[in-house]
Structure formats: C-alpha cells, structure tokens
C-alpha cells in the first residue's frame, strides 16, 4: 500500500523524481570528493609544528612557493611527466595492433577469448602484479635468465623497471577503449578504401586512424593519469627513483609534513587539468 501511495504521489512530479534520484550521488561527489579534495588543498597554505608534525592553521604561501621554486620538485616533475608520457606511448603502440586484430581480424570465438585474456589481469591485485615484476626484474629473475644468453641483462630496479611495470599495469585500460573504437569502424569503409585503390597503410592512416583517434586519446587518459599519481610501483621496482607520488607519500608518511604534501599535489592536479583541457578540444571526451 505504502509503495503504491508513494508512486502515485511521485508520478506527476518529475522534478521531485529527479531530485530524489540524484541527491545521494551528487552529495557523494560534492561532499565526499570535492570538499575533501578542497580541504586537502587548503592545508597547502597551513604550517606544521616542526617537532610534532601537527598541522597548525597559520596561513603561509611558503610551501607552495617552495614547490614551485626548488630544483628538486622541477626534476621530479619532469621525470614523472617523462615516465607518464613514455608509458602512454608504449601502451598505445602495443594496444593499437592488438585492438585492431581483436576487432577486425579475429573470429568471434577468438575475439571473446582475447577480451577475457586482456581483462584477466585486472582480476589480480595490483600489488601481486607489481611484486611479480619485482621478481621478474631481479638479477636472478626471468628477464636476466632469458637475456643473458644473448649478452643482455635485466634493467634491474629503476626508471626502466618503473616504465615497464606501469606499461603492463595500465595496458588493459588502453586496449579496451581502442578495441571499442575499432569495433565502431564499419568494415565496408575498409572495403570502400580498398576499392578506391588504397593500400593497407594508406587505409590505416587516412580512414581508420581519424576514426579511432578519440578512442586512442580516451585510452591515453587512463595510462597517463594513472602513471602520474603512482607511487607504489615506484617504491617496489623503482630502486632509488623518486616520482611525484613518492614525494607526496614521503611527506605524509616520513616527513609528517601534510602541508608540503598538499602543495606538491598541486603539480599533478595542474598537469591533469591541462591534459584534460587539451583532450576536450579534440572532442575525445565524448567517446569515453
């Protein structure tokens, strides 16, 4: 009875329907996410008691000025950007052929198997995968064993290790949107291109790539932003490498300097905002 009464009451009131539907998620996004983030960023302008590490509400721009003027943060920002870009490029280079094969070449049965294969690593914990890479990269690991007969050796723990590990971790997030993008390219366009005398390469560059560009950009957002904030992989396979994420982590965990950590977090947030703005101009956000 009650539920019937509620639905009769709500039926003509469209706005109320919408309001009751959206209140909870909007509150969640607004309060829990944006307000919490803003509260964190505000602490960048506070100070910290040097012995006890307790945050004190005394306004200062010292932390932010320090982050934007000291050489350490410039070096680490450039290194992090470089890693994120490299990881994104590697992932796209691997994902495009794989996604093309899945969408256009493979039989339906094989395609389903490949989708499962691509998504399967996501079922394993992030930590398990990173520790697996630690074992792989180790000097008595699989990479060393496979490369040593050819005079090679493992890159060990460091920049290369971080790039390899992150590229592996984010690959499914890049393959899936690009696969969806290829799937949306009608086969008859490829045939038409061939009928008009275009070779494979020409078809790829003039017909396929313009159509899947938004999908590639969508995939790059995942690889780029996830790499930009990562600190756990860096701690485990990065050797002595520092990234923006580890600087934030060390300032919270080791230095007990939350204001400085908040000030550092302005850097990746700024980079991501610029990146998203650039992406928005390409129109790729609509295909996410």
């Amino acid at each position: 009875m009650t539920s019937h009464r509620v639905s009769t009451y709500l039926a003509p009131r469209r706005r109320l329907q919408l309001a009751s539907l959206l209140t909870a998620p909007v509150l969640w996004l607004g309060l829990v996410y944006i307000v919490a983030l803003a509260a964190l960023l505000v602490t960048a302008f506070w100070t910290v008691d040097e012995l006890t590490g307790q945050v004190q509400i005394e306004w200062t721009t010292e932390n932010v000025v320090e982050v934007f003027t000291e050489a350490l943060y410039r070096t680490v920002t450039l290194r992090t950007l470089g890693i994120a870009l490299l990881v994104t490029l590697i992932d796209i280079a691997v994902a495009v052929p794989v996604a093309f094969f899945m969408a256009k070449v493979a039989s339906t049965r094989l395609r389903h198997l490949l989708v499962i294969a691509v998504l399967a690593p996501l079922w394993a914990s992030y930590l398990v995968k990173v520790y697996a890479w630690r074992a792989l990269l180790s000097s008595d690991g699989l990479i060393e064993w496979a490369a040593s007969p050819f005079g090679g050796s493992t890159p060990g723990y460091g920049l290369v290790g971080v790039v390899l590990t992150l590229s592996y971790l984010w690959l499914p997030y890049v393959i899936m949107p690009i696969y969806a993008g290829f799937d949306r390219v009608p086969d008859r366009l490829l045939e038409a291109s061939a009928d008009l005398g275009a070779q494979g390469w020409r078809t790829l560059v003039s017909v396929v790539l313009p159509m899947i560009r938004p999908a590639i950009i969508a995939g790059s957002i995942f690889a780029f932003s996830l790499s930009l904030g990562d600190y756990i992989s860096t701690k485990i396979v990065g050797g002595a490498t520092q990234m923006l994420g580890t600087l934030v982590y060390d300032n919270v965990g080791a230095a007990n300097n939350l204001p400085l950590a908040a000030a550092i977090s302005f850097i990746p947030i700024g980079i991501i905002l610029v990146y998203l703005a650039a992406v928005r101009r390409t129109g790729a956000l609509r295909s996410l």
Binding site: G53, A240, A255, N257
Partner: protein
C-alpha cells in the same frame, strides 16, 4: 616460558580486585599532558601493538618463535600487532590512532611525548621494571623531567651487511658504502629514512676529523652539508633504498643488493647463506627502544600487562635475541647464551653506539655557539639526496 606468565596472571588476578581508576585521557586534562595510571584493573580482552618487525612474534613467521601466545594465555589480552619500517612511519601511524602500545626508538619517543600521543608510565605497577639496567632508565629519550614514559626494551647497532661472494675481502669499514661505493654501483642499499644522514656523519667523524663532528645528531650547517654531499655521491651507486625489511631480505637473497646497512634480524632471516654482517671500525648508529603506552589507549590494563610481560627476563631474552640486540636486564642473560656478543650491560660499549635521537636546533652535543640543523631540515635534505 612458565615463570613469568604465571606471575603476570597472579598479578592480573590481584589487580582485578583493586579499584579501577584510570586517568589516561590526555585531551581533557587542563595542562594538556597525560597522566600515568595510578593502579590497574581487569584486563580488557585485547591490545593493539605497534612495533618493529620481530618484536611481537606469535609463531606465524617461525613456529619456534612465539612469545605472544604465552601472554594471551596468561592475561586473556588478545594481541593485534602491526609492524613498521621507520620511526617516521610509526609516528604517522600513532597520529592516526588506534594503537595501545608502541615500541619506539629514541628518534621517535620525544616526538610522541611532545605531541601528547603517549602517556607517562607508572613504573611502580611493573614488577619487571626493577631488574632493568640502571643505565637504560630515566634517559633523555624515555623520560621528561624525571617522569618515565616507558620501559626500556633493548639496544643495538645498525650493522653493515655484505654479500660474501661479491664483497671480498670482508669489509671492516663503512667506506664500502661511501668512498668505495662505486665498486658496487647499482648494488648498494641504504636505509630510507632521514635519520640515515647520521650514518654519513658517523663516517665523517673518522674520515673528516677537520669537520669537528662530536655527535652525529648535532650537526651545524657545514657539518650537515658535508654529510649531505657524501650521501648525494653515494646516491649514484644506490640500487635501492630500503625501509621494508622484507624487501631488503629479498634483495640480498637475489643478489640485487650486495652491501649496505642492515639489522641483525635481517641477517637472521636471510636463507641464501651468502651474507654476513659486521660492526665497522668507525662505530655505528643504533637504537635504544622503549615500550610506551598511547595516551588515548582504552586498553591500559592490557597495555601495562604487556609492558610487564615483555620486560620480564625470559621473554625479553627471547625477543631481543630474535631481533639481534642486547636485552634490557642482567637476568635476561640467564636465558641467552650470546649476551657477551652484544656487550649486554657493558655501559662503556653502549655509549659507543650513537643511538637514534631526534635532531633539534639546540645542539644535543651541548654546543651553544651554533645552531644545529633540525629534523625537518633533515627530511627535506633526504628528499634532495634521493633527487
């Protein structure tokens, strides 16, 4: 194992009949400081402990290494333990709350006391306290103005670990990780905490006497800059910095690290058999640890029971032997056969180790004409060293 648990049980039983009056709540008292418990009551059923790896063993790492079960049986306090890798990490965890007891080194204790995160400890309530070496009691790292904030646990030195296949002859000096580090480039490891700057300072005390370093935790601008420069040079040879002791064990077992600073417990845990440890000629930094009780603890009786239990000779002997450090009492040596190796009770030897201390601007070596570099500068410099 039988003697101390039964004693503790007896005491807990007696205490249960006593009046429960605890004043361990720090935030409400007018002076802002916490007060020690005046007497004990019934145990609460569980206690949450934050400690260095190897301090709270319940047999899950090694079936023969277990002193937690005896405590749980004797007191009914179920132990929930968490380990940490650096004092800074422990400080952060203590700030987040939820722990009743913490094992803190000297570079952590004063910070905990200053932030009112730990309460004074009424040592009269602890039966085991009397037997503890006098030279460990009421020190600047475990008491303030004569008020004790905890029970000494053990002390030892940060050692130099090396791979016996790769590093020959066996080193006797820290120079293998400093001036000669490039011989092992990419395979040198160092402790990932700002306090490691003191290790460089200890090295400079011997090798650059003109700097006049008297105490590695009291560095003026010039001395500090020299230590930082040494570490920046070392950075080029570092394979990885460690703070997770399990990662260091794995790195030495696989040969990814061949030389670097370590703890005895890590050497004890390495199964590959091609590593050894040495206390180099320059001396070393080290630790003297204290069991403390959180000011916000709601399990004070279990916390006191733990402090008493872990300081009792047999248990203290087990725990300190497992970690590889000197015990806190003469009686504990009756349960260990390696006390001499750790110079337990040897006051002169104990004074040769530079125990971790929080660097503050009032130089701890007593100099008054200069200001020393404080710990917040150490943490900034540490990030610059890592680059």
């Amino acid at each position: 194992m039988s003697k101390s648990p039964s004693r503790t049980a007896l005491r807990a039983g007696l205490a249960a009949t006593a009046v429960v009056s605890l004043a361990a709540c720090g935030t409400s008292s007018s002076d802002g400081g916490s007060e020690a418990a005046a007497s004990l009551g019934a145990t609460e059923g569980s206690v949450s402990i934050l400690a260095w790896p190897g301090y709270v063993e319940d047999g899950s790492n090694d079936a023969s290494v277990d002193w937690v079960s005896g405590f749980e049986e004797a007191t009914g306090c179920m132990v929930d333990a968490k380990t940490y890798g650096t004092s800074d990490e422990a400080y952060q965890l203590m700030q987040s709350g939820g722990y009743d007891v913490v094992a803190a080194s000297g570079d952590l204790t004063l910070r905990l006391i200053a932030a009112d995160l730990v309460a004074p400890v009424n040592t009269d309530l602890l039966e085991s306290y009397d037997g503890i070496f006098d030279f460990l009691k009421d020190k600047e790292w475990n008491s303030v103005d004569g008020v004790s904030y905890g029970v000494p646990h053990g002390y030892g030195a940060n050692l130099l670990m090396f791979n016996t296949d790769e590093v020959t002859p066996a080193p006797t000096s820290w120079d293998v990780v400093f001036d000669k580090a490039s011989d092992y480039s990419g395979k040198v490891t160092a402790y990932d905490s700002p306090i490691y700057i003191a290790d460089a300072a200890v090295y400079l005390m011997t090798h650059s006497p003109e700097l006049g370093i008297e105490n590695p935790y009291a560095l003026d601008e010039d001395q500090f800059a020299a230590a930082v420069d040494l570490l920046k040079t070392q950075n080029a040879s570092i394979g990885e910095y460690w703070s997770d002791y399990l990662l260091e064990i794995q790195a030495f077992e696989s040969g990814d690290s061949v030389v670097g600073t370590t703890w005895q417990v890590i050497q004890n845990s390495i199964s590959s058999g091609n590593t050894d440890v040495v206390l180099p000629d320059e001396g070393a930094t080290g630790w003297s640890d204290t069991w403390m009780i959180a000011s916000e603890s709601e399990a004070t009786n279990c916390a006191y029971a733990w402090l008493d239990y872990i300081a009792s000779p047999e248990v203290n002997a087990q725990a300190t032997a497992y970690f590889g450090e000197a015990p806190s009492s003469e009686a504990a040596c009756d349960f260990r056969d390696d006390c001499e190796a750790y110079h337990a009770g040897d006051e002169d030897y104990a004074s040769q180790i530079w125990y971790w201390t929080t660097p503050v601007s009032d130089c701890v070596d007593g100099r008054e004409d200069v200001e020393c570099v404080d710990y917040s500068e150490w943490t900034k410099a540490w990030q610059e060293i890592k680059g």
